[in-house]
Symmetry: C2
Subunit: 419 residues, 2 copies
């Protein structure tokens, strides 16, 4: 975690491999790490390639509280409209996710397809022995915008996947594989709290980092006892500081969805602060994995803005720099062209004082009081990880954005996707 | 002119080669097309390559009214700060322009360099026989941010260029060459009004289309009799509809400057409407030339948004689409991926109704009522010019933005500039 603005308790308490007594983060476990969850991933034939394309996460209970955050894009895919609606109850029993098609911009027919999918999942789970209604099933889709899904394959897949779901860790891993589109590796993380409860999660894509908007889908699970309100607070706070601060190309997909489900199966009630810290840690780890696997990435870049009057100001400046094509191409070229950083700061929607700005690249000062320092152009940016620290010299607030460079591979992979 | 929002009179009145009685636009004449102007361009040794790098535009009068518009970047180069200050008088006798260095982020020393340059021009013009003060000299610079200019070469060049300036058309063309950085051709345009007065102009760069922010510099001249207030109105109106609507990568340089000088040498007073139309036409032509020569461009793209409630809304949506990396990479790939256009519309800062959006590519419908039409993915985008027309279905206002694709050449040329 490189953000200066992360909750302090997360950095202090949570260290992978730390001795008993501290929360423990692991990277090879996902949504089935907490008690009370089953999951599966199968190839339903939605993707022409024959790769896995359908995933299910099932909450066995006893609790079924849930919360979600969704894309801020005004053009929302059918599954987003559906899942927002069913989540008004604060309750979910299952999440069905497909890759191979976004089901966005598909009109009322597309919404009908989502509805039918949720009904099929509910019917299959009811047949399996758990009485379930369609309003207890969230739906997530990812893939190309504008095409209808092959519903015969989706519905046959639903029947199959409910038979297939297992309670072990492998079910969660299968699900993490099945939601991949252009991801090269599955993304999972789990946190084991010393008090005996757990949080797990899986994710794919990120912002618009990958072709055709690379929907970010993420499902988080916990066996802690927590109300829907607790889950909602923890999820919003974590997403705001992790996924919302991962900005590959400034775009937001029509399908972005992050869900958090609680089974309460540990029978351990959790306080808000502990839940916040645990959910944040898992989201932060998934965000780091998403950045590392961004399409066309050759550099992992963290832009930190300090010295702002308010945190929102720091965030707005960091975001403007992170989205600037000229900054991103310079970083691709390992070029310490700090003037482009200053020009980007100057067009951010925040009032700044050009004569107070200081910039360091990888910890080496390149600009002080708004102009260059000797040797600025010689800073070595040839490594994969680059930190850009900007001090506005106006206040005490700070914020970080994770981004990537703008590379040939990005252009290549995004210039020929739908065709 | 492809914008639907251009002033109607411009399209109707001004046609190259039109019969006498209509304003006539020519593309091989520039700042010395109007009476009362001299110009020159020389190699002063500022550029390591030895190419021309210093230009002068001199207004012989009898009038010396002037107006300017400048970058909105809060990080402003020294010459911008200087020229803004001297233009508060509404009066200019000369403009000195250098390529080979932006003189931005150079601190008080950089501002001193600009001041000394203006003083040297004033002294040289006074020696030459025209009593001139430094406050009558605007300064423009373009090139890499962050380095001081080689002032010995600049000052020696100033002495030489004042000797060199000629009154013919070739002086204007020499100046247009000398302000080029990564431009491949000089940009000039002139309009001859049937009433006997003229407007001329030269430009370089555009927005941030070229490496290191590609400062847009433009000098316009007229021999019409016009007050500083008239010039200011005409220039602001024209820039808002031309240069401000050319958006290559969403960035704004530290040095952008557009100046308009009147000599009044035709002795013909001009009405505001005629002046507005003529200045618009020359600016529009220069903007088209700038787009066509953008670095790495393989597609010239015009995004038009109609059906908006207000023109500002249409402009905001068009700008969001024009800046979207995924739309721009799809266009580079000649890929009719209309879903990316809808997703970009959805993240614009304007309230839209997804179910009313219609989109055409090159005049062929690809999306209606927010979802695809048959054959949408087969529209031929293989040509160089692409029009994207978006109808929001909410009102009567419209606006256009000119942009380009995002190509390998863009990445290549911007990833290795300062080093």
């Amino acid at each position: 975690m490189t953000s200066q603005d992360a909750p302090q308790q997360a950095d202090e308490q949570i260290q992978p491999g730390a001795p008993m007594g501290a929360p423990r983060l692991v990277r090879d476990q996902g949504v089935t790490a907490p008690l009370g969850f089953r999951a599966a991933g199968i190839a339903a034939g939605i993707k022409a390639s024959g790769a896995d394309d359908l995933a299910l996460v099932f909450n066995e209970g006893p609790d079924h509280t849930a919360a979600g955050v969704f894309t801020k894009n005004q053009v929302k895919a059918a599954p987003v409209l559906w899942s927002q609606q069913v989540l008004t109850t604060g309750r979910l029993r299952a999440v069905i996710l497909n890759s191979g098609g976004a089901n966005a911009c598909t009109g009322p027919e597309g919404f009908g397809d989502t509805h039918r999918t949720a009904e099929a999942v509910a019917a299959a789970l009811s047949n399996w022995g758990t009485s379930t209604g369609a309003v207890e099933v969230a739906v997530c889709s990812t893939g190309l915008i504008g095409d209808r899904l092959p519903m015969d394959k989706v519905l046959a897949g639903v029947t199959e996947i409910v038979q297939d779901m297992g309670g072990g860790l492998s079910g969660g891993t299968d699900a993490a594989y099945a939601i991949m589109t252009t991801d090269t590796v599955p993304k999972q993380a789990a946190l084991h709290h010393p008090d005996g409860w757990n949080v797990g999660g899986m994710g794919k894509g990120a912002g618009m980092m990958a072709p055709s908007l690379a929907t970010m889908l993420c499902v988080l699970t916990t066996d802690a006892q927590a109300s829907a309100e607790q889950l909602d607070l923890a999820l919003r706070r974590a997403a705001a500081r992790t996924f919302d601060r991962l900005d590959i190309d400034g775009s937001t997909s029509t399908n972005d969805t992050v869900l958090l489900l609680s089974s309460g199966a540990s029978q351990i009630p959790v306080g808000q602060d502990d839940l916040d810290a645990a959910v944040f840690t898992v989201c932060d780890e998934l965000a780091a994995q998403l950045m590392a696997d961004a399409e066309g990435v050759t550099k992992r870049v963290t832009i930190t803005v300090a010295g702002a009057v308010m945190e929102d100001d720091a965030l707005a400046v960091a975001r403007t720099v992170a989205r600037d094509s000229l900054v991103k191409t310079a970083l691709f070229g390992s070029d310490a062209n700090w003037g482009r950083v200053l020009a980007a700061v100057g067009i951010s929607p925040v009032t700044i004082d050009p004569d107070r700005i200081a910039v360091t690249f990888n910890g080496s000062p390149v600009c002080r009081n708004g102009h260059g320092v000797p040797g600025a152009r010689d800073v070595d940016l040839s490594g994969t990880d680059i930190t850009v620290d900007i001090d506005l010299g106006l206040g005490d607030a700070s914020a970080s954005i994770r981004t990537t460079d703008l590379s040939h591979a990005y252009v290549e992979e995004n210039s020929a996707y739908s065709s």
